[in-house]
């Protein structure tokens, strides 16, 4: 026990690596939330009338909604009137030519290890860099457009591809879906849009890197991915924020549409600032992510490695509408100190012969609380639906908690649904065994945790997997004696 404590103390002195911030001259909305603010944002972005109407409708609906309280997380009420809903660096130019992007902004991303220079960049990943409320730059647009692939910031998409946006925006996550999705629909400022035309296999990983920089500002961005019939895309999402004493709100919406025989793989490595060792500060990460397998034989696969945020509330889901469509959810959620995570998935089987697979690995350390919440729903028409769920929890120390809330709702007798769950503790025996072979305790924990999460980490694209492994080790550094 004594060693446990001393190592825990050591851990808590560990700095969050991306906790710095820069000063930029900001173009920002006044603090507060009302219709004027929404009009202000929409005007700032030179949006068409229909989008403003859409936002206002979302806002008016939101006013009638109440904050959900069913999640197993506890935090003081957020004063949404005390937030700023738009903050962007003044240097942002209208032109998105990479050469014209302010070097200061590029430097922010360089410091995060994200190069926006296409030459320097490892081939194979295109990035949309979102800073606070705006997209700073999108790389490889030219290369991708030759294949007919659209990859750009949401704001540009609204201007350049209005028919696509109008068709798909809110088609998977309706504006009225839930409290935070409605709020997002009203005030979202930017995000990424991607369209893969029929029959095209996207030759590189597409990614969005979200960075919060400004204080007292919420980040509300939307990602919309449309994979037309017989296309394939792998999408990555990364996120970090400065260490601040105040909690900050991040309420995003991600929508994925997959046509017939289309495949979308969406991977997240979430590393928002988790708050300090006393539980002060950190990001509230209230995100709605949903994909629809609209066409037959389509597939959507979510992989997430959640290491950051003070409070996470997130359930990437799949609507399996097409016959023979497949939904997958692979998750590793790590909580330490006072972090709280309530995360999981929803698999809604509508089509015949649909399949879903859920692999959730929770890791709790410190005084954190980690919940898996998952729903498997099989509709009347969904003959021969199959689901397999595996929910494992790993506990480190004796002051944390792991919870599993599986919901199963079956309306078709031919469904086969399996659920497996385990809870284990990192044993002192395992650590001692590693020590006895010359492996230091920190490395032993990393080894054991990575072994535990292997099935999920294997789903990540190569470079991301290495990042994720390091991040897991870093988040848990010193949490076991």
């Amino acid at each position: 026990m004594s060693k446990d404590n001393s190592i825990l103390e050591e851990l808590t002195s560990k700095e969050y690596e991306h906790g710095w911030s820069v000063n930029y001259e900001a173009d920002e909305a006044p603090i507060g939330l009302n219709e004027d603010i929404i009009r202000w944002i929409s005007a700032k972005k030179e949006e068409p009338q229909w989008l403003l109407e859409w936002r206002l409708k979302a806002f008016r609906t939101w006013l009638t909604m109440t904050e959900p309280e069913w999640a197993n997380v506890h935090y003081p009420k957020i004063d949404l009137q005390a937030l700023r809903y738009y903050s962007a660096p003044k240097q942002i130019k209208k032109s998105k030519n990479l050469d014209e992007v302010d070097p200061e902004l590029i430097a922010i991303y360089e410091r995060l290890g994200i190069s926006l220079n296409e030459q320097k960049r490892l081939q194979g990943i295109a990035v949309d860099a979102v800073l606070d409320s705006v997209s700073v730059a999108t790389t490889f647009r030219g290369t991708l457009s030759k294949l007919g692939i659209v990859f750009c910031s949401f704001s540009e998409a609204v201007k350049e591809y209005p028919e696509l946006i109008q068709k798909y925006l809110g088609s998977v996550v309706p504006m009225t879906d839930n409290y935070y999705a409605a709020l997002n629909s009203a005030v979202f400022s930017d995000g990424s849009f991607c369209y893969i035309p029929k029959g095209v296999r996207c030759p590189m990983e597409l990614s969005t890197y979200f960075r919060i920089n400004a204080a007292n500002t919420g980040q509300f961005e939307r990602t919309l991915i449309v994979a037309d019939d017989e296309s394939y895309v792998s999408y990555l999402e990364g996120c970090t924020a400065p260490s601040r004493d105040e909690n900050q709100l991040h309420a995003a919406v991600v929508e994925i549409y997959a046509g017939t025989h289309a495949q979308v793989k969406y991977s997240t490595v979430q590393n928002w600032y988790p708050g300090d060792k006393e539980g002060k500060g950190g990001i509230y990460n209230f995100v709605t992510k949903r994909g629809i397998c609209a066409g037959d034989h389509s597939k959507i696969s979510w992989t997430q490695v959640e290491t950051g945020s003070a409070v996470t509330w997130k359930y990437p889901s799949c609507i399996l509408k097409g016959d023979y469509s497949i939904g997958e959810f692979y998750s590793v959620a790590v909580t330490n100190n006072y972090q709280q995570a309530d995360t999981g998935t929803k698999m809604i089987h509508i089509g015949k012969n649909t399949k879903s697979r859920i692999v959730s690995k929770g890791i709790s350390a410190g005084k954190s609380q980690n919940s898996y919440r998952g729903q498997v729903q099989v509709m009347k028409r969904a003959d021969n639906a199959r689901n397999f769920s595996q929910c494992d929890s790993l506990l480190m120390g004796d002051r944390c908690g792991a919870h599993t809330f599986p919901y199963i709702d079956i309306n078709n007798p031919s469904a086969k649904v399996e659920h497996e769950a385990t809870t284990s503790k990192i044993g002192e025996d395992q650590i001692f065994y590693c020590n006895q072979r010359g492996i230091a305790t920190e490395d032993a924990v990393a080894l054991i945790v990575n072994g535990y999460a292997k099935e999920v980490l294997n789903q990540l694209p190569m470079e991301f997997a290495v990042e994720a492994q390091k991040l897991l080790a870093l988040t848990l550094e010193g949490s076991v004696g």
Binding site: D429, Q430, Y433, N435, Q436, R437, G438, I448, G451
Partner: protein, 254 residues
């Protein structure tokens, strides 16, 4: 190489070791025998640095260093190896990955370059032959679903890979059939050199037919109550431990 003086150790307030004295020199094999509960495994654990045991008195020096002052991983890096009685399972971590981490951390401590993948695999192939271990076993999760014999063989394989100066085999013979016993012992014998020493902790004489000890010590109630050569082990095999218990207990009452 190893010098234990008046070692006392306890767990949760119960004193298990009550004054152990033992000198082990390079090139020697010592067998520690004794009835159940005499403290054999505790001695092995204390030497390896298991947290739960508290050393209350005495000293242990290893190659001139205060062993008790070193963290368990540093003891391993200095060359102390414990073959576990119950090897631990680590799901999702292959033996290969585990050993590569271990070998390179030990090498770093000793001021050596880490082995790259090719050199590591070459070393592994070489050592695999020594303990007759199958490649397939090494790509599986460490000890997970291994049979008793496979686990013990894997321990000896790890020992071969880490090249310790002092090996402590804790009841390595338990749960082994005769063939596995032969293979494991072969491995241990081949790894033996003038520069290394071995402590074999065992309840039965059987293992000592294969690994021939230079000295045999009988542990009872946390003390070494009798020392001798291989013949002592034979005598124990024949007569059991009762006569020693009686001898010791009668002395204690005097």
């Amino acid at each position: 190489m190893l010098s234990i003086k008046n070692l006392h150790a306890s767990i949760e307030g119960n004193e298990i070791l009550r004054g152990i004295n033992l000198e082990v020199k390079a090139g020697e094999i010592h067998a520690i025998m004794g009835p159940n509960g005499s403290g054999k495994s505790t001695l092995a654990s204390v030497l390896a640095g298991r947290e739960e045991y508290e050393v209350t008195e005495g000293e242990v020096t290893f190659k001139g260093k205060d062993l008790l002052d070193l963290a368990p991983e540093d003891r391993a890096r200095e060359g102390v190896f414990l073959a576990f009685q119950y090897p631990v399972e680590i799901p999702g971590v292959s033996s290969t990955n585990f050993l590569r981490t271990a070998v390179n951390q030990v090498r770093e401590y000793r001021g050596l370059e880490p082995l790259d993948a090719v050199k590591f695999l070459t070393l592994m192939k070489e050592k695999m032959k020594l303990v007759e271990i199958d490649q397939k076993l090494l790509s599986r999760s460490l000890n997970e679903g291994f049979s008793g014999g496979e686990k013990k063989r894997n321990e000896i394989f790890q020992m071969a890979m880490l090249e310790p100066t002092l090996s402590i085999l804790d009841e390595t013979d338990s749960g082994l059939d005769i063939d596995a016993l032969r293979i494991v012992s072969n491995g241990v014998n081949q790894l033996k050199s003038e520069k290394t020493a071995t402590i074999v902790v065992t309840h039965y004489q059987r293992l000592l037919d294969y690994i021939v000890p230079d000295f045999v010590h009988v542990l009872y109630k946390g003390r070494i109550v009798k020392s001798g050569t291989k013949e002592l082990a034979m005598e124990l095999e024949e007569k059991g431990y009762d006569w020693i218990k009686e001898e010791v207990d009668s002395q204690a009452t005097v």
